[in-house]
């Protein structure tokens, strides 16, 4: 039995035990259903090196990719959230060399919250702190039971921690704020607060009103006042904002900042973003270190510039070549963006078949990081996790492919 790290989501569970016999996974312990699906992905729909639909050798594919990028005036490098830190660093170097636009999935995902957290405008903590000290966990627009199955059992509700020996039975409260009665809301029982789609800002105003001792302007006033008293009694609270909240708030994120500041006047309250892809936060941190911006950066003209016009939504329409890695924009992005992206010469680096590899001019297969390739990744709370490969493969890692492309340029 080898102890391995799962790269299925940004919890990066490192207590997985996998038995490998004859280069096949025979028995895996402690892995959730989502992670199990991720591990099984090794055995189906793997890609092969292709140029314009013809099978070629690895070296030919890499040199063709280098040609496309070199001849492009305004290339876009997109994806990155499912790559190791090492590959992301190589990607940023490549973007600098090409004067390209580089962006990751956070620009239409958790970016606006991550920016505030990395800047220190919203207080945050690690998930181990959550386990050891937190007595109130709020899942806001997130359903970890489906998106991060082991979130509640490893950190936020069920485990016993240093200061929380009685855990969920007596000391912890778990609250869900969501538009639908999700599986997590089921666990939260009475502490489930339904908000209408787009109603998160109003709900936040109501929480602020309750904290001031005013009567909130929502349907169930009694329940809101109860919520207010739970928040006031909390010793160490954590809010887990998910995509539901981010999409609903958008340019009103200052309100969330205000709520966090108000809560911190009363007691300790932190926020940990529910990052989806396993290393989105890693990319944000790396790029911030390098340029001062967390995503959507253009190196055109030698100097990094940032703004909505450099984000993937805008850049997809203005670029003349694109490299896609660790993400499938054609199935995830809005139709107009996907269509624009499918129209330019596309280089897809992906271990498995996706819409992007189907539409790509050059497809380069890579080793699946975490299973076939080692590296480092940043968990959703900022903790760095190092992992080693446990399956053998002849395929190069993302980092090796990017270095190869850079050398060919």
């Amino acid at each position: 039995m080898a102890v391995v790290t799962c790269t299925g989501c940004s919890l990066l569970c490192d207590d997985i035990e996998a038995a490998v016999t004859n280069e096949k996974l025979s028995h895996i312990k402690n892995l959730c259903r989502k992670g199990h699906g991720h591990f099984q992905a090794v055995f189906s729909e793997r890609t092969v090196p292709m140029v314009n639909g013809q099978k070629v050798s690895m070296d030919e594919a890499i040199s063709r990719a280098a040609e496309i990028l070199k001849s492009a005036k305004n290339p876009l490098l997109y994806g990155w959230s499912n790559c190791t830190l090492e590959a992301q660093a190589a990607g940023i170097r490549l973007a600098e060399k090409l004067g390209a636009t580089i962006d990751d999935t956070s620009s239409f995902c958790q970016g606006i919250l991550m920016e505030r957290i990395l800047d220190g405008r919203i207080p945050t903590c690690t998930l181990d702190d959550v386990r050891n000290y937190a007595d109130t966990s709020i899942f806001w627009g997130a359903d970890p039971s489906n998106s991060h199955p082991r979130h509640l059992s490893r950190f936020s509700y069920y485990p016993r921690g240093e200061k929380r020996q009685k855990s969920y039975e007596e000391e912890r409260t778990c609250i869900a704020v969501d538009v639908r009665h999700s599986a997590t809301a089921e666990i939260c029982g009475n502490y489930y607060f339904r908000v209408p789609p787009g109603g998160d800002a109003d709900f936040m105003e109501a929480v602020l009103a309750v904290l001031e001792g005013k009567i909130p302007r929502v349907a169930d006033k009694k329940k809101m006042i109860e919520l207010g008293s739970i928040l006031k009694k909390t010793e160490y609270g954590v809010i887990f904002p998910g995509l539901g909240m981010i999409y609903s708030m958008q340019d009103k994120m200052d309100l969330f900042e205000r709520l966090m500041a108000r809560l911190n006047e009363i007691t300790a309250f932190k926020a940990v973003p529910m990052v989806g892809h396993y290393n989105m936060r890693g990319f944000n941190e790396l790029l911030r270190e390098k340029t001062g911006f967390i995503n959507s950066v253009s190196f055109r003209g030698g100097k990094p510039s940032h703004g909505p016009e450099q984000s993937v939504i805008a850049a997809a329409k203005s670029c003349d070549a694109a490299l896609v890695i660790g993400s499938d924009p054609l199935s995830a992005l809005p139709f107009a963006t996907a269509k624009a992206l499918a129209g330019v010469p596309l280089i897809a680096i992906d271990p498995r078949r996706s819409l992007a590899t189907d539409a790509a001019a050059v497809t380069i297969p890579s080793a699946i990081s975490g299973l076939e390739a080692g590296g480092t990744a940043v968990r959703m709370d900022g903790v760095r996790v190092k992992f080693e490969p446990f399956l053998k493969t002849d395929l190069p890692t993302d980092e090796q492919i990017l270095t190869g492309i850079m050398e060919a340029i």
Binding site: N30, L31, K34, S145, P149, S153, Y157, P159
Partner: protein
């Protein structure tokens, strides 16, 4: 889960006492508690007019008869593999306090519930607090399940 009333409706409702119990309702409760077998209701087996009821009864009782000794039923198709039950189960925590206690997957062989190949499986059922003469009605695993993949009869 089947209720005692549903089972009762499929019994002869004559209170003939041939099973040794005073009423058919008591027999229905006995069936659900797995202290009685369907075959002990002789009129239901022997008389032809109850044939349809007997067939229906066997149908609804099938999952209960297949349940483990403590009445635990796991539906693997519903399980998320989240491990909430693994961490919440008091016997698991007592058997592996340094790992189960803080949310990690268990390494000890004495635990009851563990996640294997993405879904929960149960072993060592004799350790369950619902087993044996001094049983208590613990529901840590069912109450913590987000998808109702664990049930007790």
């Amino acid at each position: 889960m089947v209720s005692a009333m549903e089972v009762y409706m499929l019994l002869p409702k004559t209170n003939c006492k041939k099973c040794g119990l005073a009423t058919c309702m008591a027999f229905a409760v006995g069936l659900l508690g797995r202290e009685k077998k369907i075959d002990e209701c002789t009129p239901l087996i022997e008389e032809k007019k109850y044939e349809a009821k007997l067939k229906k009864l066997r149908e609804i009782m099938a999952p209960i008869e297949n349940a483990s000794e403590t009445g635990l039923i796991i539906h693997p198709e519903k399980c998320f593999g989240c491990g909430n039950c693994v961490v919440a189960c008091p016997v698991n925590v007592a058997a592996d306090p340094t790992r189960c206690g803080i949310g990690l997957g268990p390494q000890s062989d004495k635990v009851i519930l563990k996640v294997e190949d993405g879904v929960v499986v149960c072993n060592n059922l004799k350790e369950c607090r619902r087993f044996g003469p001094n049983k208590i009605l613990c529901n840590a695993c069912t109450a913590t399940c987000p998808s109702k993949a664990i049930e007790f009869v």
